[in-house]
């Protein structure tokens, strides 16, 4: 699974992108965020409050209940501030 991090999520995780395969029982976006929060100090800081984050699967914003698949591109970021 391709994971992308933007803005302060990227800074806290310490990576812009990586490939990770979560355990088989991690089946939704919400479960993925809970699992990522356990992957180390930077991840813990980034995913401490999932309510602050938006998630896109294959470049479409989705709710935490959305199922994930191994071949997905999953991106994590705070709300947009462009313009």
């Amino acid at each position: 699974m391709k994971l992308l991090y933007f803005s302060w999520v990227r800074e806290r995780v310490g990576l812009a992108e990586e490939t990770k395969l979560p355990p088989a029982d991690v089946k939704t976006v919400g479960a993925l965020m809970a699992w990522l929060a356990e992957q180390g100090e930077g991840y813990a800081a980034a995913f401490a409050d999932p309510a602050l984050l938006k998630v896109a699967i294959n470049q479409k914003i989705v709710p935490p209940t959305t199922p994930i698949a191994d071949e997905d591109e999953v991106a994590f970021f705070p709300p947009f501030t462009g313009g």
Partner: protein, 159 residues
């Protein structure tokens, strides 16, 4: 027409390109957004001075989001043309960040579509701003005002 680029842009050239050799256009509206030297957190004197602004984005998703937003504007208003240019990278106060240009037979459509494009772009396109100030750097936070500005267009969709 959509462009995401580091280099600056020329609003006059984009207006000219949209209107050149056309006689059905009655109205062209442009919006240029610039980096301000005062923090976006407010206008009072206590806010730190901004020394630079860095724009990060999500390549691929950004292009798709801007194309969707532009298509939505064309579905809602009878536009003869439009331009969205958004810069990325590190910019200094006074530099332009974003340009929206809309052309239509009539002025109301051009004005409304330009406001709509800016409002949607702020909350629906994957850009993030990081301010460097004389008191340190911080990621700009999304505002309720921007969410409200996006929401006011929800009722009037023609699509």
């Amino acid at each position: 027409m959509i462009r995401i680029q580091q280099e600056t842009f020329d609003p006059g050239a984009e207006i000219k390109a949209l209107t050149q050799d056309r006689t059905e256009i009655g109205a062209v509206v442009s919006f240029t957004g610039l980096v301000r030297g005062a923090s976006s957190g407010g206008d009072d004197a206590s806010h730190p001075t901004i020394t630079a602004m860095t724009l990060e984005h999500y390549p691929g998703m950004t292009e798709a989001a801007l194309a969707d937003i532009e298509a939505e504007a064309h579905a809602r208003w009878p536009l003869t043309g439009s331009v969205i240019i958004h810069r990325i990278g590190r910019l200094l106060p006074g530099e332009p960040i974003v340009l929206v240009v809309t052309a239509s037979a009539h002025r109301r459509a051009a004005f409304e579509a330009a406001e709509f494009l800016m409002d949607w772009l702020k909350t629906k396109a994957p850009f993030w701003k990081r301010e460097e100030t004389d008191a340190g750097a911080r990621w700009v936070e999304a505002t309720e005002a921007d969410e409200a500005a996006t929401a006011r267009w929800a009722q009037s969709s023609a699509g």
